[in-house]
């Protein structure tokens, strides 16, 4: 491909790409995002390619491996264009039928369609499925229609037109003004106004400035940045280049976790392609503006998601945060002005430039504009990535899009904001999601993890879980975080083990206050949030653990026992066969019993006991009933009529 030297040439290239494509030509797209990949999309893709060759259709049908579609629960996802017929949980064995029936004969295969669990209706098109229908996919939408490894695909959907507009029609000040007017706020956690950050950097003294993509997505249970970077890397590069132009920077970095190999691969390919096309490098599109981008891989440290720690890591040092008396926008990497924004923030920039800040501010609430991508995970029917306008209520996200809690269980809490966030109870389900609304409720937006918990989740254990995570990830530089969180973890662990004492909760509150006030960086300052929010909304659970040594959710191993109800056991023997520690005293036609001295509380018996018996129970806070006498164990079966 020859270098594109001007904006006119770019439009010509775009035209020739579009004219070489026939929108009516059948195309099979396969989601190749991480979620679908894990459920076997690679094998499906391979068999589609083989089947196309086998049926001699290589010229007539296109096959495209796209990024994440978002509906990970139902992967692997296959969509047949131009009709847009959407198949879920496709297996390699389904492929010959898909090609011969749907692609050639245009017949829909019923069994691969989505079934609405409420109406039992089969749904053919993606846009009509409730999971998608209630979303507003401004940033994420293109993921499902382009091949992330093809710059031509990105150009075909109008890619790099925002960059062309900026370079030809706008001064850096105008770009800055437009972004400021859009009220775009950082999608990575804090929600700092992006335009203000850029302005600070632009006005900071110095000729060398940096722009950086923060793709060190470390929050457990959050993977939207990964999916964007894997699925649409050019949109981030375009946003970054526009930001560099506005700030006056000529060097950019993408800091991405090495745990995301596909993201590293796709973004590296994208950079190479953009360089070949002259959309990165010297004299971009003949405008005289120079900009280069390098990929820097993170080596596995959660704290490196924090701005100053990330910048220290970029310098090739251990990623420890530093005090930020001066913003990193003014004094960042190698003490030079550095703008750091999250992946999703950068991906919003081309949209704002192309469609204008007035368009962008239509979406969202007073103080939180635009959309936000959440990863809706945990005890939820439709696990996946969802993009909604700011201001949608938690209830709508969880029930309308997420389909509610599976298995007829009761909703207990939703955790937002990752380890720095908090848990919100049922009373707050009508809360609109926005930066300030979530912070006021004791949680935060964070990068957009949304973990749904049901009645079986113990809230004390959730707090313990996050503090364990943070103890492990604390860099150790400042005492309140290093020691404070560790002590909090010790006390919480004791509580979940039934060793809690009177006064523990108060001591935890005191430690939380010190960590919050005196830690160096946001990791330590926000570390108490999971504890404080669960205490605020679920104090009764803490008290049950401490005072009654009881776990109300029947989850803390040390506080529960498994017990077989003699009145319900039918001696089917399943639990005895599956128990890994031979703790079930069984026998033919004998009521089974759990040997409490051997039981490791793995819960296998509870899971395998057939639902029609439901004989295995979890008990907590009360003694296990004594074993019944041997003679009472015999089940006298009264023939078929009694069963």
């Amino acid at each position: 491909m020859a270098r594109i030297n001007s904006i006119t040439e770019l439009e010509e290239v775009r035209k020739s790409i579009l004219s070489s494509r026939d929108s009516k030509k059948p195309c099979i797209t396969i989601c190749s995002g991480s979620g679908c990949h894990a459920s076997g999309s690679r094998e499906v893709a391979l068999s589609i390619e083989a089947e196309i060759v086998k049926q001699g259709l290589s010229d007539k049908v296109d096959v495209k491996k796209t990024g994440c579609h978002g509906f990970c629960e139902r992967g692997p996802i296959v969509v047949i264009h131009p009709e847009g017929i959407c198949y879920f949980q496709v297996k390699p064995g389904d492929v010959p039928e898909i090609v011969s029936q749907t692609v050639i004969e245009k017949k829909v295969i019923e069994r691969l369609l989505y079934t609405d669990p409420n109406t039992n209706e089969k749904i053919v098109y993606e846009s009509e499925i409730p999971f998608y229908k209630n979303q507003e996919r401004l940033v994420f939408g293109f993921n499902s229609s382009i091949d992330p490894k093809s710059i031509d695909d990105y150009l075909a959907i109008g890619g790099y037109s925002a960059l062309a507009k900026v370079l030809s029609q706008m001064s850096p000040e105008q770009v800055l003004e437009e972004v400021k007017r859009s009220n775009l706020r950082g999608r990575g956690g804090g929600g700092f106004p992006t335009g203000r950050k850029w302005g600070e950097s632009r006005n900071a003294p110095g000729d060398i400035k940096y722009v950086i993509v923060n793709a060190d997505e470390g929050d457990p249970g959050a993977y939207m940045d990964r999916s964007l970077l894997e699925g649409n890397p050019h949109s981030i590069l375009e946003g970054l280049t526009i930001g560099a132009y506005a700030v006056g920077s000529h060097e950019g970095y993408i800091y991405v976790r090495q745990e995301y190999p596909l993201a590293v691969e796709n973004v590296s390919i994208a950079i190479k392609q953009a360089e070949e096309y002259g959309l990165l490098g010297e004299n971009i599109l003949g405008s005289g503006f120079d900009f280069t981008v390098k990929v820097h891989q993170g080596a596995g440290a959660f704290v490196c998601g924090e701005s100053s720690a990330l910048m220290t890591a970029l310098e090739g040092k251990a990623g420890e945060p530093r005090p930020k008396y001066i913003h990193t926008a003014v004094k960042g990497v190698w003490d030079r002005p550095s703008v750091l924004n999250n992946v999703e923030t950068w991906a919003n920039v081309p949209l704002i430039i192309n469609k204008g800040s007035d368009w962008f501010t239509q979406f969202g609430t007073e103080r939180s504009k635009g959309t936000k991508i959440f990863s809706l995970v945990g005890k939820i029917t439709n696990t996946g990535l969802v993009e909604v306008p700011m201001g949608m209520s938690l209830r709508d996200i969880i029930y309308k899009i997420g389909g509610g809690i599976p298995g007829g269980k009761k909703f207990k809490a939703v955790q937002t904001g990752g380890p720095s966030g908090g848990c919100l109870p049922e009373e707050l389900l009508d809360l609109p999601v926005g930066f300030d609304e979530l912070t006021q409720a004791g949680s935060m937006m964070g990068s957009g993890g949304m973990i749904v918990m049901d009645e079986d989740t113990c809230m004390v254990d959730v707090a313990r879980y996050f503090l364990e995570f943070l103890t492990d990830e604390s860099c150790g530089k400042c005492v309140p975080c290093r020691e404070g969180i560790r002590q909090m973890l010790k006390i919480l662990t004791n509580i979940t083990k039934g060793k809690g004492k009177e006064g523990d909760i108060e001591l935890l509150e005191e430690l939380a206050e010190v960590a919050r006030e005196a830690s160096l960086c946001a990791l330590g300052r926000s570390a108490p949030n999971p504890f404080l929010s669960t205490l605020k909304y679920f104090r009764d659970e803490y008290e049950a653990h401490v005072k009654e040594k009881r776990c109300p959710a029947l989850s803390c191993k040390e506080l529960i026992a498994f017990y077989i109800d003699p009145a319900k056991c039918q001696a089917c023997g399943t639990c005895a066969r599956k128990c890994p520690s031979e703790a079930i005293i069984g026998g033919k036609n004998l009521i089974h019993m759990v040997d409490q001295t051997k039981c490791t509380k793995c819960g296998t018996c509870f899971e395998v006991c057939p639902p029609r018996f439901r004989a295995v129970k979890k008990i907590s806070g009360e003694p296990v009933p004594d074993p019944i006498p041997e003679e009472a164990r015999i089940i006298v079966r009264g023939g078929k009529k009694n069963e």
Binding site: S39, Y260, G300, T383, C475
Partner: protein, 150 residues
């Protein structure tokens, strides 16, 4: 890992001290651990004190200073997997292999690590062995999966 290969990796990164982490990552991914000699060579060539190399090699989770087993087991402990019972899966793996997270067994068969989110939350709890994902794991199924590895 021989010295020439270490040198090649260093040269690939233009022997720049700011690329220290990237160089160590390349060595780690090829060799699966960081031998002392390799670290010394990196320190010498980049003219960075050995203390800083050690600081980085111990600070970041991606690096290992001891050899790894033939099969690397990763148990996802992300929040979504946690609420779906990842701890019980981990307990089962520990019981069966006799090693704790961060350890390698004496036969160098398995290394066990916990990770904080593999990004396939729909499949939780997730166990990954040598890059292959085993989703919706139950403690009772762990033995079945592990027996396929020699």
């Amino acid at each position: 890992m021989d010295k020439e290969r270490v040198d090649q990796i260093i040269d690939k990164h233009d022997c720049e001290a700011s690329s220290l982490i990237q160089i160590l990552l390349d060595i780690q991914s090829e060799n699966h651990w960081l031998p002392k000699e390799a670290l010394e060579r990196v320190a010498e060539r980049l003219q960075v004190p050995m203390t800083r190399v050690q600081h980085i090699a111990t600070f970041y989770k991606a690096f290992s200073l001891v050899p790894k087993g033939r099969h690397e087991i990763h148990i996802c402990m992300g929040t979504a997997c946690h609420v779906r019972g990842a701890q019980r899966v981990l307990d089962a793996v520990q019981d069966l292999t006799g090693i704790k997270p961060g350890e390698t067994d004496l036969d160098l068969k398995f290394s066990l690590e916990t990770v904080n989110c593999l990004g396939c939350c729909a499949l939780g709890p997730v166990m990954e062995i040598d890059g292959k994902t085993h989703g919706k794991m139950a403690p009772a199924e762990v033995a079945n999966v592990l027996k396929n590895y020699e």
